[in-house]
């Protein structure tokens, strides 16, 4: 039994699943950290995942190409981001309650829209999802090859986003301004830049990334939209953001760690063969998220102006 528990780690299938489970979380954590780096907590994430999953899928179902669906999802996310941004940045409303409101709104818009489009379907309609990568040389490598061959172009996009966001934040004037607006908005104002504009822009871009996380589920991991398919993934991302100390590289690490744990518990369930209730295993990812949050919370270096609304000419 112990042997087979360890043997899981040598299966290419396990590592492929790890990456697949991590991909939506990579998008989600990147989105959350972008918003928070600019000083805005975006609890709309859970609902934006749902809206992204639903809108991206629906666009493809109605005839758009797959990448068109990805764009539609991103646009939907940016729209909800705009709503959250307007309410929390210039109006300075509670970021906690507004975020919950955006989650409720985005979820109900998606569910209502799905029911309008498909009033009486028993089995969810399907689309042709992203195909696995067809890699000329890499695909033939031992061990790594089969892992890569199970991924899709959507996953590649997630990994690319990690690099792009890291580069923007660390190396560009825009990144500097974004980090400053979450740490010291007065300084940004003194530079003649718009705090409101930067923050709303960051929330919109972050929300677009979150929506891509949802769209990955309906366009790549599965090929249909199900009610309740997000199931707390968005909240997990908020916890992982603290764990990643708001850095894209660590966000990737956190998401992969979470993916590995989730993939592992799924396989452990079959090994124990019902001796332990399946719910115990299903709890593990959530317990892990809470534990990760509690462990790093004390020394977490929160963006200093996180959740502090900024009004021009007011101290």
């Amino acid at each position: 039994m112990l042997w087979s528990a360890l043997d899981i780690l040598t299966q290419a299938n396990f590592w492929a699943a790890t990456i697949r489970i991590a991909t939506p979380l990579i998008f989600g954590v990147l989105g959350a950290l972008l918003c928070e780096r600019a000083g805005v907590l975006n609890l709309g994430i859970e609902g934006i995942f749902v809206a992204g999953a639903m809108s991206g899928w629906l666009a493809v179902y109605l005839g758009l190409p797959l990448w068109g669906g990805v764009l539609v999802a991103a646009g939907t996310g940016a729209l909800f981001g705009l709503l959250h941004g307007i309410l929390t940045v210039p109006l300075g409303l509670s970021q906690h309650v507004t975020g919950i409101g955006v989650t409720l709104l985005a979820t109900s818009v998606a569910y209502f829209g799905y029911r309008v489009a498909f009033p009486n379907v028993a089995t969810p309609p399907r689309i042709e999802a992203f195909p696995p990568l067809d890699l000329p040389v890499l695909g033939d490598l031992p061990f790594i090859g089969p892992i890569l061959a199970q991924q899709t172009a959507f996953t590649v996009l997630a990994f690319a986003c990690v690099g792009i966001l890291a580069l923007i934040l660390a190396r560009t004037p825009l990144g500097l301004a974004l980090r400053a607006v979450g740490d010291n908005p007065e300084a940004v104002e003194a530079q003649g830049l718009s705090v409101v504009g930067l923050r709303i822009g960051a929330v919109m871009a972050g929300s677009a990334l979150m929506a891509l996380g949802g769209a990955f589920l309906t366009l790549s991991a599965f090929n249909a939209f199900y009610f309740g398919m997000i199931n707390g993934r968005g909240w997990v991302c908020i916890a992982l953001t603290v764990f990643a100390s708001w850095r894209p590289g660590k966000a990737l690490l956190g998401a992969l760690l979470f993916g590995a744990l989730d993939a592992y518990q799924l396989r452990l369930q079959t090994i124990t063969g019902g001796a332990v209730p399946s719910q115990i295993f299903l709890m593990l990812p959530y317990v892990f998220s809470i534990a990760a949050l509690v462990l790093v919370a004390r020394r977490a270096d929160y963006p200093r102006a996180l959740m502090k609304p900024y009004f021009k000419g007011q101290r």
Binding site: I100, G101, L104, S108, F112, P119, W235, Y286, R298
Partner: protein, 355 residues
């Protein structure tokens, strides 16, 4: 140019007007997706109103649905007053429901005047204990309670499913994962025979009155408000901030636990994993619509319940999805947040030169 000038005092009529206005605004905004879906807008709203308030039966259904919402609304109101962001009422509700079944389904045999209070206290304690965990994580480790309470909702629901498929499963239930029914002595009696309305409503209203008196008239109520207004100032003034937070946690979790007890012992009679269609989350809307006032929670819960009951009935009649209700409720929350600006600020138009 528009300027926000903070108000010294807010007249009560304005607060009430903002809440009512937000409710109406939400209904108005919902007309847009409703029209886009091709449904008869006016007809749908008339059917919703009839379904929620049309006759005695409809009204009783609305009040039945409002009962758990008053409890979870109070849970959110007291917590948010102290800026303790408890988003875990859903989980605490299920903890209360589990305790109700654990105590009331045969473990203890006693007359109703013993068993009913015992079940209620047990449920409140279970909910309170569950919220103490994130409160402790917050005060000890600085872990954000929003994420912890949210994630705990999923853990608790899985735990409930585990119990219902394992030790708490009713063997007489034809394989359905549900608990054994609570004893007659643990059941909250119906208020009117023939209707589903039960004594849980009375307990909910009494809880609201007690919480109102507690917050406005007692020393600890004042401390809770002070911590919510400005925790740093409260600490400088020598107020026991940690204890106040723990007290808020106990109250908030306890009230959410009572929602679970009321649903199981008053309405369903047994526990299933789909006991709550999101009462915990809707409680946040109820509390915000009520401007976090315990007394305001009562009409606000009735409004939200009416939207859900009305939408169900409308959906049965003309086939428009009842997710419309979730839309109205979400829009009401966002509208009241925006409207709240009017109660906190005077909004003045000034000419640019005058600035």
């Amino acid at each position: 140019m528009i300027r926000f000038i903070p108000r010294e005092r807010t007249p009560v009529w304005l607060t009430v007007a903002v809440s009512v206005g937000a409710g109406l605004a939400a209904l108005l905004l919902t007309a847009i997706p409703l029209a886009l879906s091709g449904a008869p807008v006016l007809g749908a709203f008339v059917l919703m109103a009839k379904g929620a308030l049309g006759d005695g039966f409809a009204l009783a259904e609305t009040l039945t649905r409002a009962t758990p919402l008053i409890f979870t609304g109070l849970a959110a109101a007291v917590a948010f007053r102290a800026k303790l962001w408890n988003i875990g009422a859903e989980g605490q509700l299920y903890a209360g429901a589990l305790a109700t079944v654990a105590l009331g389904a045969g473990l203890i045999e006693a007359p109703a005047y013993v068993l009913v209070p015992l079940v209620l206290i047990g449920a409140a304690l279970a909910g309170a204990a569950l919220l103490l965990v994130p409160v402790l994580f917050k005060t000890r480790f600085g872990a954000d309670e929003v994420v912890v309470t949210l994630l705990m909702n999923f853990i608790v629901l899985l735990f409930v499913q585990m119990m219902l498929e394992g030790p708490m499963k009713d063997e007489m239930a034809m394989g359905w994962p549900q608990s054994a029914p609570v004893l007659d002595e643990a059941t909250l009696p119906k208020l009117i025979t023939g209707l589903r309305l039960h004594w849980g409503l009375v307990i909910a209203v009494i809880s609201a009155l007690l919480l109102h008196v507690f917050i406005t008239r007692t020393v600890w109520g004042f401390r809770i408000r002070a911590v919510g207004e400005n925790a740093r100032a409260a600490r400088y003034a020598g107020l026991p901030v940690g204890k106040a937070m723990a007290l808020v946690g106990l109250l908030s979790g306890g009230l959410a636990g009572l929602a679970g007890a009321s649903e199981v012992a008053g309405l369903k009679g047994y526990l299933t994993a789909d006991l709550s269609p999101g009462f915990g989350y809707a409680g946040i809307v109820v509390a915000t619509l009520a401007n976090l006032s315990p007394l305001g929670v009562i009409p606000s819960a009735i409004f939200v319940a009416g939207v859900f009951v009305g939408a169900d009935s409308m959906s049965r009649a003309i086939g428009v999805s009842n997710y419309l209700a979730d839309l109205v409720v979400a829009l009401a929350l966002l509208s009241v947040l925006v409207g709240g600006l009017l109660t906190r600020f005077r909004i003045v138009l000034v000419r640019r030169e005058a600035v």
